[in-house]
């Protein structure tokens, strides 16, 4: 995807790194979910992470956000080792996560959810809702509870990450369970995040969504097995991962 606002940035490979993960390893319930994972997230870049179910993508998101800690390896964010830092500390440093299955909150309005830490003005909050295709007049005072549909909740989640103005936004399958008419709004949100200067780690299964990425990583067995441009990597993913011996294995669908 061409983004003129990023023209001033050097090529992805030459941009400054925002986050560096080195040799991350994590075993859960006797299974090596993350297996020597190393990568760099670059400034102002949308990194797409593709991989079949169970390859450790959500676990990686959790490791980066501090929801769990690696058994081995390190995570450095903006020059500071955050490997053992708490969720709150990481959030305050500028990392934010849009959950694959976002939690629901009784009695908490969308307006409040979008201003939990920062206090954006009303115009700014409304702008985030417009970006993800939600009419502010209809949604600002709605509770972030079970009365929102799954798709609405995911769009509110994306808007709330935008409202944090993070240096690094981790988006865990923001497009899953989204109908085709709503998908462009999700894509809008991802693009807007890039425009506001955030680096993005976009975890997805979708060939359509991955087109938003500047660079794509393919994950398999808790490792990154290939990197490249979205178009070529999508083809590679389809050709290699559909016949991969791990696909369909029961343990492959756990993480």
């Amino acid at each position: 995807m061409f983004r003129p606002e990023l023209c001033f940035l050097p090529h992805v490979g030459e941009r400054k790194q925002v986050l560096t993960a080195e040799n991350l390893r994590l075993t859960l319930n006797g299974r090596q979910v993350i297996n020597g994972l190393s990568f760099e997230v670059k400034e102002g870049t949308i990194h797409g992470l593709l991989g079949v179910n169970g390859t450790g993508k959500t676990t990686l998101a959790n490791l980066l956000m501090g929801i769990c800690y690696p058994d081995e390896g390190s995570i450095v964010f903006q020059g500071q080792d955050i490997t053992r830092r708490s969720i709150s500390e990481r959030a305050k440093m500028g990392i934010s996560l849009a959950w694959q299955e976002p939690a629901r909150f009784e009695g908490l309005s969308v307006r409040e959810y979008l201003s939990l830490r920062r206090q954006p003005g009303m115009e700014e909050i409304e702008g985030y809702l417009w970006t993800v295709g939600l009419l502010p007049a209809q949604f600002l005072d709605r509770a972030v509870d079970a009365t929102l549909s799954g798709g609405e909740r995911k769009r509110v989640e994306l808007a709330s990450v935008m409202a944090m103005k993070p240096s690094l936004a981790i988006l865990d399958e923001p497009d899953s369970g989204i109908d085709v008419l709503s998908l462009p709004h999700i894509m809008n949100g991802i693009a807007a995040m890039g425009k506001q200067g955030s680096s993005v780690l976009l975890i997805t299964h979708s060939e359509e969504a991955i087109k938003a990425a500047d660079e794509v990583w393919i994950a398999c067995d808790g490792r990154i097995v290939n990197t490249g441009q979205p178009q070529e990597l999508c083809e590679w993913f389809k050709n290699h991962c559909s016949t991969c011996s791990h696909v369909g294995e029961p343990e492959h669908n756990g993480a």
Binding site: M65, I87, S88, F105, E106, L108, S160, M164
Partner: protein, 315 residues
């Protein structure tokens, strides 16, 4: 205290809760202020008639909403005991005549209670097609020396609606012994909600019963409790589907936020007609870890996240 001083003291205590005392002075809205067994103010409104009768330990109140009357503004009721010790027994009779509409907001003030009992016996009759919304909010001090005993029997006529919320989230509960019984006629709607924040050595006993007696009657008994320290709570929600197409639901959530807390819930669902359906859900446990993580990933500390979740549940 003489009556004028008591009146001003009640308004001041009311104002300290964050509410605007001017609503109680407003001559255009219905209002009632009772301190101990003294009636300090009765404000009538078109379509509304409030009669009071002091007793040795409280006040009998009769509130009638005329047939078809739709009160534009909420009626404000204010009950309280300001000294450290005392007894207040309110006998409340409400008749919302057919087709009427009323919202009543009750404020119960016991900011200094060390040994106070507040008892309410309510007999509420909602006529056919009438709609009555009632919210009772308690403001207690931190001593916990209070016993609150709300009792109510509510009958809801055909296509009538009863919505009530009992909230006790400011200060210590003390002892709460809440028991409401609602009887819904054909196509009526009955909703009972109780929200309580228990702490220290609070003892909470809640009984919500809904009898869906008319065809197509609907009912919801909802409770939200947040318990910390050594608070103990028992919630019993009972729903009886006694008529065709009656639909009822019990929804109980008790959040346990302390090592000494004891929390129980007993839902009773009973159906007498094969075309009726009643359901229940009850959850007791600590604050949801995913909710916590989500809020912390927005930069809140653990304490701030707990506060946001709890305030939302009790809102």
């Amino acid at each position: 205290m003489i009556a004028v001083e008591e009146y001003e003291a009640m308004l001041e205590a009311y104002g300290r809760t964050g509410a605007d005392p001017r609503v109680l002075r407003n001559g255009e809205t219905g209002s009632l202020i009772v301190h101990e067994n003294k009636v300090l103010r009765v404000g009538q409104a078109p379509g509304l008639k409030i009669e009071t009768e002091p007793t040795a330990s409280g006040v009998s109140v009769a509130l009638v909403v005329a047939e078809g009357a739709r009160l534009e503004h909420p009626v404000h009721l204010c009950f309280g005991v300001l000294p450290r010790e005392g007894l207040q027994e309110i006998v409340l009779s409400v008749e919302a005549q057919a087709g009427s509409e009323l919202t009543a907001v009750a404020h119960c003030l016991f900011p200094n209670a060390v040994d106070v009992t507040h008892r309410m016996d309510a007999d509420i009759r909602i006529g056919d097609g009438a709609r009555f919304s009632y919210r009772e909010t308690h403001y207690h001090g931190e001593a916990g020396g209070i016993r609150v005993v709300p009792r109510g029997k509510v009958s809801v006529g055909k296509k009538g609606m009863w919505q009530s919320t009992f909230a006790l989230i400011e200060g210590c509960v003390g002892v709460l012994d809440y028991d409401f019984d609602v009887f819904g006629d054909e196509s009526s709607i009955s909703e009972l909600t109780v929200k309580v924040s228990g702490k220290k050595k609070d003892e909470i006993d809640i009984v919500e019963k809904i009898h869906l007696d008319g065809q197509g009657a609907r009912g919801l008994a909802k409770s939200r409790l947040v318990l910390s320290d050594n608070a103990r709570a028992m919630v019993r929600g009972e729903t009886y589907g006694n008529a065709p197409f009656a639909r009822g639901h019990i929804d109980c959530l008790e959040v346990v936020n302390g090592d000494g807390v004891v929390a129980s819930a007993v839902p009773v669902v009973h159906v007498n007609d094969r075309r009726a359906k009643v359901t229940h859900e009850a959850a007791i446990g600590s604050i949801d870890s995913k909710q916590m993580q989500t809020l912390m990933a927005r930069g809140l500390s653990e304490e701030e996240a707990v506060d946001v979740i709890v305030r939302g549940i009790l809102r």
